[in-house]
Amino acid sequence: MEQFVMAAATILIGVFGCICYFFLSNMALDQLYPATGPMAGANINRANQIRPWLFMLPALALLTVYLVYPVFVSIYLSFMDAEGDNFVGAANYIWLINDDKFRESMFNNLLWLVFVPAASTFFGLVAAAVTDRIRWGNFAKAMIFMPMAISFVGAAVIWKLVYEYRPDGQEQIGILNAVWTWMGGEAQTWLTSPVINSFLLMIVLVWIQTGFAMVILSAALRGIPEETIEASILDGASPFQIFMKIKVPQIWGTILVVWTTITITVLKVFDIVLTMTNGQWGTQVLANLMFDWMFRGNDTGRASTTAIVIMLMVTPIMIWNIRNAAREAR
């Protein structure tokens, strides 16, 4: 009960505090530089210079403390020892390069980086193309989009049931093994078989991200100018040719955006690996390795170094995004 009172109070204080801050700071500014009297013109100008910063102050403060400051502290910690007390130079980075678990994570992350965005974008494109042409398309879209609302942990449970193993002779209750044994195979403990288990984890993320790709690509497909399609129909192109040679090239930019957005999700993937295999049997990834060193290893130096590696992998996309946004603003 107490925590509800606290939560309700926080909402009230938060909302009310925000409104009070903006209202009072605005009033103070108007008092300080009144828009009347002999100095009215200069005062209005000065107030207009200050006001944007009043509007942005809470957001900038939070962004600085919660996102900018940690970047620098992490860089600092990556050069310190386990407790963050003593400077150790590049020792953490050297350890990292020689660590088997790190190499395994790096390899797996690269696999994820290739497979998940490619598969999600492909299925998303197919789903967008077919659902735009059928009468029950909206229903189909909602069903494919639905996994987006499901938590990674929930998805992990859902797919663990799919991959569930029962010893030979018992009734298989996981659909994968049921199909596999029905086809004449021997029941497998899928999640402990290296390499294939990584792909089984990736399928979970593909299942979640396809809906995202489909929604964005479907909007892009509908935005293609009709004339180009009509012209190609007149020229006798087949539906498949129209799709591959007329439509896809025109939405290439959007495909790239979908690809990079999913790439970022992939680099941060954590919950699925933690809950399904906890990085065992050769499925470790960077984000889970970082978590391991943070809580089980209690080594802030190594954990920070791993986090920095994730950051470095994200950086090219970050720069690309900033450039695009800047070009659009112009």
């Binding site: 909302v15 996102l67 077919v130 996994p147 609302a149 659909i175 539906p239 994200v314 970050m318």
Partner: protein, 376 residues
């Protein structure tokens, strides 16, 4: 494609089939979880969930009452009972030895090595009779092959919400996600307005900063912020996680809202300025109401993200009953109750129920937000 005579209907068929296959593939796993959450433990381990609609065949093992409780009736010592304990089920075969669990036929009396006669009926009733007094305190074991009709139950939900602590975790998740959704909206809306409609030096730089911060991995922020929270005395607490979620959600909030606000018609804002409205009034009375769709989009994103989050909760909240959120609880159950699918499936469905409702109710805004939010 009406131009290609003759291939039209075949293409329509192919497209429909393709869509159907995708939809089935994408809903099948979730549907399995839903069905499993309504089955009881024995059924789940006896057959795959896709067979839930059909009667399940299972092996039942039952230990009869202790022999010394047999009653004397018409010169015979008699013990009776029901191997389903009165529940539904149909025995197809039975046995009195573990080596031959289905050796004997229903309704036909079988004489054991000890000279006792056992009869089992299809509904599970059994009778053990013996001409001499039965001895010992361990009852005879009866093995039976039974067919249980399809059966669904709500019991799992009651159990999961109560004994497994998910009810409490549900409340904790709400405690986390509602303030963490409401607070960033206001903070971001003001900043977005300034970035969209106020002229000042450095504006482009701040927009670029926000775009850059959109992709900063959370992993980078965890250790420094946990240290910071501990140093300033917040520790592992709801206040800490509200602040963290607010901070992490702000870049997307500012980005979405700014993009939307920039697109609002310039004339409205300028005529309001001419009429003497201050920026504060313009924001509250014109921009905020007009931006409702963008606010709703962000609110849904943030709500889904905070509700579904595991990482931030693991780091910024404790593991005690009054702070454990549902995703954390589900993760713990996956560790401790790995094979108990009735518990896992039901728990998972409870955790995803609210996001699914929000999703289906507000899908329009979610799609709109996605379209605006992916960096073009």
């Amino acid at each position: 494609m009406d131009n290609i005579v003759g291939t039209k209907s075949r293409l329509v068929w192919a497209v429909n089939l393709c869509a159907l296959a995708l939809v089935l593939l994408w809903t099948f796993p979730t549907f399995g979880l839903l069905v499993s959450s309504f089955r009881d433990r024995d059924q789940i381990s006896a057959s795959g969930w896709w067979k839930a609609m059909f009667p399940a065949e299972a092996s039942v093992q039952y230990r009869a009452d202790a022999p010394d409780t047999a009653v004397l009736k018409d010169g015979l010592y008699v013990l009776d009972g029901n191997i389903f304990d009165g529940g539904p089920g149909k025995v197809t075969a039975f046995g009195t030895s573990i080596r031959e669990p289905g050796a004997d036929l229903v309704n036909e009396p079988v004489v054991t090595d000890d000279g006792e006669t056992v009869t089992v009926r299809a509904n599970g009733d059994f009778t053990i009779t013996s001409p001499t007094a039965m001895e010992g305190s361990r009852g005879m074991r009866i093995f039976a092959t039974s067919v249980t009709p399809a059966r669904f139950t709500f019991e799992n939900y009651g159990r999961v919400l109560g004994a497994e602590g998910l009810g409490r975790a549900f409340l904790n998740t709400m405690t986390v996600s509602i303030p963490a959704t409401v607070i960033p909206i206001l903070v971001a809306a003001f900043a977005a307005y300034a970035l969209a409609w106020m002229e000042f030096p450095g504006r482009a730089l701040i927009v670029a900063l926000v775009v850059g911060l959109l992709v900063v991995p959370l992993q980078l922020a965890l250790i420094p912020l946990l240290k910071l929270h501990n140093d300033i005395g917040i520790g592992k607490n709801y206040i800490g996680i509200w602040l963290a979620h607010t901070g992490f959600g702000l870049p997307l909030a500012i980005y979405l809202l700014r993009n939307y606000m920039v697109g609002l018609p310039r004339e409205i804002i300028e005529s309001a300025r001419v009429d003497g409205a201050t920026d504060f009034q313009i924001f509250l009375k014109i921009i905020l109401p007009l931006s409702f769709p963008a606010l709703a989009s962000f609110a849904i994103f943030q709500f889904l993200w905070t509700w579904n989050d595991l990482l931030v909760a693991l780091v910024f909240l404790g593991n005690s009953a009054d702070q454990l959120v549902m995703t954390g609880q589900l993760k713990n159950l996956m560790g401790s109750r790995g094979g108990d699918w009735e518990i896992l499936a039901t728990s998972a469905f409870v955790t995803i129920a609210v996001p699914l409702v929000v999703f289906f109710a507000m899908q329009k805004y979610l799609v709109r937000g996605l379209l605006a939010g992916s960096v073009k």
